[in-house]
């Protein structure tokens, strides 16, 4: 690996560097998310044909499935960051882990609400204690627990360390959510999109779904970076670089 990669990562571990980096990347990630999201919505709501069994109700898939993927993907990122924070005590890793939790909770909430709105016309019920639904609800509670634990400490780093342990313990739920449709034969359908092997979906329905997945990934970057910036202002409040930003001395604070 080239020498500049570890050096670059090392520099990003510095809070002022990360703050500036996040501020520079955030608008681009957000803009890209809006653009891709608009294209995906057009493809999903207008271009893609109605489903032969579910009619137009299946169109909820274009937000339900990308949100569900994000609810697990964000947990993965958060778990890796929490592990790095616990082992090497890198402050930025702790902040990234803690500020990922609210975004993950938002996507989990969207997954549950849209799933419920899809379940009513198709299954005839808003909610059932199906394995997939229940484990996703547990995921929401874990996310909320992480947010709550982080904010219940006076000392933010102490809170981050305690919550990082909860992140690692709660990680057992992620494979349970993912494999629940294979392990228990209940109401929720199995995976339509497969990384290995053919997907059970038409190309005209697949591309809006994958575009929306990219849009939600970009959105996560934008939201995470906005949250990390807000967090660093508070947690690094005693440092000179934050004071300079607060008092607006060197104009190094875009947006």
């Amino acid at each position: 690996m080239a020498n500049w990669v570890p050096l670059w990562l090392h520099r990003l571990g510095s809070p002022p560097v990360f703050y500036r980096f996040a501020g520079a990347v955030r608008p681009w990630a957000f803009g890209l998310a809006l653009l891709l999201g608009a294209v995906a919505l057009y493809g999903g709501l207008v271009v893609a044909p109605a489903d032969y069994q579910q009619g137009d109700a299946y169109r909820i898939i274009f937000i339900h499935v990308p949100s569900a993927w994000m609810s697990l993907f964000i947990y993965g990122v958060m778990a890796v960051a929490a592990f790095i924070g616990l082992v090497w005590r890198i402050k930025i890793a702790e902040v990234v882990a803690m500020e990922s939790a609210p975004v993950g909770a938002a996507f989990t909430l969207i997954t549950l609400v849209t799933g419920s709105l899809w379940g009513k016309p198709m299954w005839g019920t808003w909610w059932t204690w199906d394995a997939r639904l229940t484990s996703e609800l547990v995921l929401l509670f874990i996310y909320l627990g992480i947010v709550g634990l982080y904010h219940s400490f006076e000392d933010r780093r102490q809170g981050a360390r305690a919550a990082a342990f909860l992140v690692l313990v709660g990680a057992v739920n992620v494979p349970i959510v993912h494999f629940s449709v294979n392990w228990w034969n209940t109401l929720h359908q199995g995976s339509t999109i497969r990384l290995l092997g053919p997907s059970h979906i038409e190309a005209s329905m697949l591309w809006p779904l994958l575009t929306m997945m990219l849009a939600t990934k970009c959105y996560y970057i934008a939201s995470l970076f906005a949250r990390v910036r807000a967090d660093l202002i508070a947690s690094e409040g005693g440092k000179a670089w934050v004071r300079d930003i607060a008092l607006g001395q060197p104009g190094n604070d875009p947006a």
Partner: protein, 66 residues
């Protein structure tokens, strides 16, 4: 157009889903921006108080852009 909005009779479910998606993400977008501004404002107020304690009698004039 009205056919598009009807979504084959599933309009209320489909559009409520999309509304939920956008409302949740809108709140998630705006909350950290407001939090960052609030944190900056509180930090400025704290710095002004410290300055005032160090040199009593200085009016808290450096809060002009708070």
């Amino acid at each position: 157009m009205s056919q598009f909005l009807a979504m084959g009779g599933y309009g209320s479910y489909v559009w409520t889903s999309f509304a939920a998606f956008f409302i949740v993400l809108l709140i998630d977008t705006l909350a950290p921006l407001a939090r960052r501004r609030r944190n900056l404002r509180e930090l400025r107020a704290r710095l002004a108080r410290q300055e005032n304690r160090r040199r009593p009698g200085t009016p808290p004039s450096n809060e002009s852009n708070a």
